[in-house]
């Protein structure tokens, strides 16, 4: 089974300002990722190279989200932290058989994630493990996904908005996680070293990533949404 990083989530209050500010600071480009169907979330997508991407999201619908109790957990924490927060990370497997096996091992199921981009058909991937309980990201645990035969339109491979001074990302060099390596190994059933994870011993969650670029490595450090509870 080949497992690799697929995407890392960054939740915020203003998806435009956050994407622009991060582009300015890191010189990593981004593009309009469109909107999700279920919770009226808008997305900007920042390819990181190596088949991975950062999904930057916020609520964009003042009416459908008027009830604060329906706000996504990571949004509430971004507001409380007064900062964009890392919501979680998602790993990728090649087949649905692998994904379903992981879902079963964790007592959950796979669910379809659908997003409407600004150009063309909906973006769809399966993610697991999900159940009626809390989102694994909420306790700082990675999830897994499978794109079936749609990897050719993977968000990491789409063109970014042309902006002056952008660098070319060449992949995620490392991910700083909370918790311990032993805890993560138990959850992943895999050596976290394979995924370039390092651990800071804080509350589980994502705290920082290092991105290789043609102009040197870039560190993106934000509070962990799971740790901000």
């Amino acid at each position: 089974m080949a497992v690799m990083l697929d995407h890392i989530h960054l939740g915020c209050a203003n998806v435009y300002a956050t994407a622009f500010d991060l582009m300015k600071a890191s010189r990593l480009g981004h593009y309009d990722g469109g909107f999700t169907s279920a919770i009226t979330v808008g997305q900007k997508t920042m390819p990181l190279g190596g088949g991975a991407y950062l999904e930057i999201e916020s609520l964009v619908d003042p009416f459908a989200t008027a009830d604060a109790s329906k706000h996504p957990w990571w949004y509430t924490r971004a507001i409380a932290a007064k900062s964009p927060v890392f919501g979680g990370l998602c790993l990728r497997v090649d087949t649905m058989e692998e994904l379903n096996a992981i879902a079963k091992r964790h007592g959950g199921a796979a669910r379809l994630n659908v997003r409407t981009p600004s150009d063309g058909p909906q973006v769809k991937f399966w993610e697991a493990p999900y159940s009626s309980g809390a989102d694994p990201w909420q306790s700082g645990k990675p999830t897994w996904c499978c794109w079936e035969n749609r990897l050719y339109r993977h968000p990491s491979g789409q063109p970014v908005v042309n902006a002056p001074g952008l660098v070319t990302p060449n992949g995620v060099a490392w991910i700083e996680m909370g918790g311990t390596k032993a805890q993560m190994q138990t959850w992943l059933n895999q050596n976290p070293d394979d995924l370039q994870m390092k651990f800071n011993g804080k509350t589980p969650g994502v705290y920082a990533i290092g991105v290789r670029t043609d102009a040197g490595d870039i560190e993106i450090r934000r509070p962990s949404a799971a740790g901000a509870s």
């Binding site: 209050a13 203003n14 998806v15 435009y16 300002a17 994407a19 622009f20 300015k24 981004h30 593009y31 309009d32 469109g34 909107f35 009226t40 808008g42 916020s58 609520l59 964009v60 619908d61 003042p62 009416f63 459908a64 989200t65 507001i79 409407t116 981009p117 600004s118 150009d119 063309g120 908005v161 042309n162 902006a163 002056p164």
Partner: protein
């Protein structure tokens, strides 16, 4: 080109969804436009000589904790869906803009204002220089009236930017007419003369002020009519007469 229509604003409760729906309805493409603080626009180019619809809305709901009259207006006019909320005219020279400013006894929003926080910016940080008048304590759009713009450099005009490709996309050939509320005389009174009204491809329906429909020509395609209620249908302009 004398006084002309530059762009039309379509207020939306959810600009991502409205842009997607409009593109499916009409075959007109759009691009991810500009943003300023809690607001953003997606832009639908309409073809020569350089017109567009901006689909505008609030995209930072946390910013609504500090409510003001403009934000409240945007919420009120979009609570029941998309509404046309602005007719934006254009002139070709700063002198013409100055003339309208003088007519309205107003200042001009200058194109060279160095404060980035005063301008909408694109995703790559580009700020399109534009000047406009009148400058009022509340936008004249709230009264269903048009304002006037001047661009020192039209080469980066919003109507000329590439759109996201969509299935069955049509090529627009420009605005054919715009249906507005009120009467020609009401608009002439606002603009300072019937000669200005006669320069514009407007149809008057006698209803409340503002834009009610836009007709766009398209290559090898029937004319496209985009019909939405005017903002004044949701919030009467009489609310803003003080």
């Amino acid at each position: 080109m004398p006084l002309h229509i530059d762009h039309i604003s379509l207020a939306s409760p959810h600009i991502f969804r409205s842009a997607d729906a409009l593109s499916r309805e009409t075959g007109l493409g759009y691009w991810t436009g500009e943003w300023l603080r809690e607001s953003s626009v997606n832009i639908v180019p309409l073809g020569p000589p350089g017109n567009f619809i901006e689909i505008s809305g609030i995209i930072d709901i946390h910013a609504l904790r500090h409510m003001d009259e403009r934000k409240q207006w945007m919420l009120d006019i979009t609570a029941t869906g998309d509404h046309f909320n602005g007719l934006c005219l254009g002139v070709d020279t700063p002198e013409e803009l100055e003339m309208f400013a003088k007519h309205w006894k107003s200042e001009i929003n200058r194109a060279d204002n160095p404060d980035p926080a005063a301008h909408f910016q694109r995703a790559n940080g580009y700020i399109l220089p534009m000047a406009s008048t009148p400058v009022t304590k509340r936008t004249v759009w709230m009264k269903g009236l048009p304002n006037v713009y001047y661009y020192p450099d039209r080469t980066h005009h919003s109507s000329g930017q590439p759109t996201h490709p969509i299935p069955n996309q049509v090529t627009p050939t420009g605005i054919k007419w715009v249906e507005v509320g009120g009467t020609p005389q009401e608009l002439a009174d606002w603009l300072g003369g019937m000669q200005y009204v006669e320069m514009l491809p407007l149809k008057f329906n006698g209803r409340s002020l503002g834009v009610w429909a836009v007709c766009v020509g398209a290559e090898e395609h029937d004319d496209i009519v985009i019909r939405r209620p005017a903002a004044s249908d949701a919030v009467p302009v009489s609310k803003f007469t003080d």
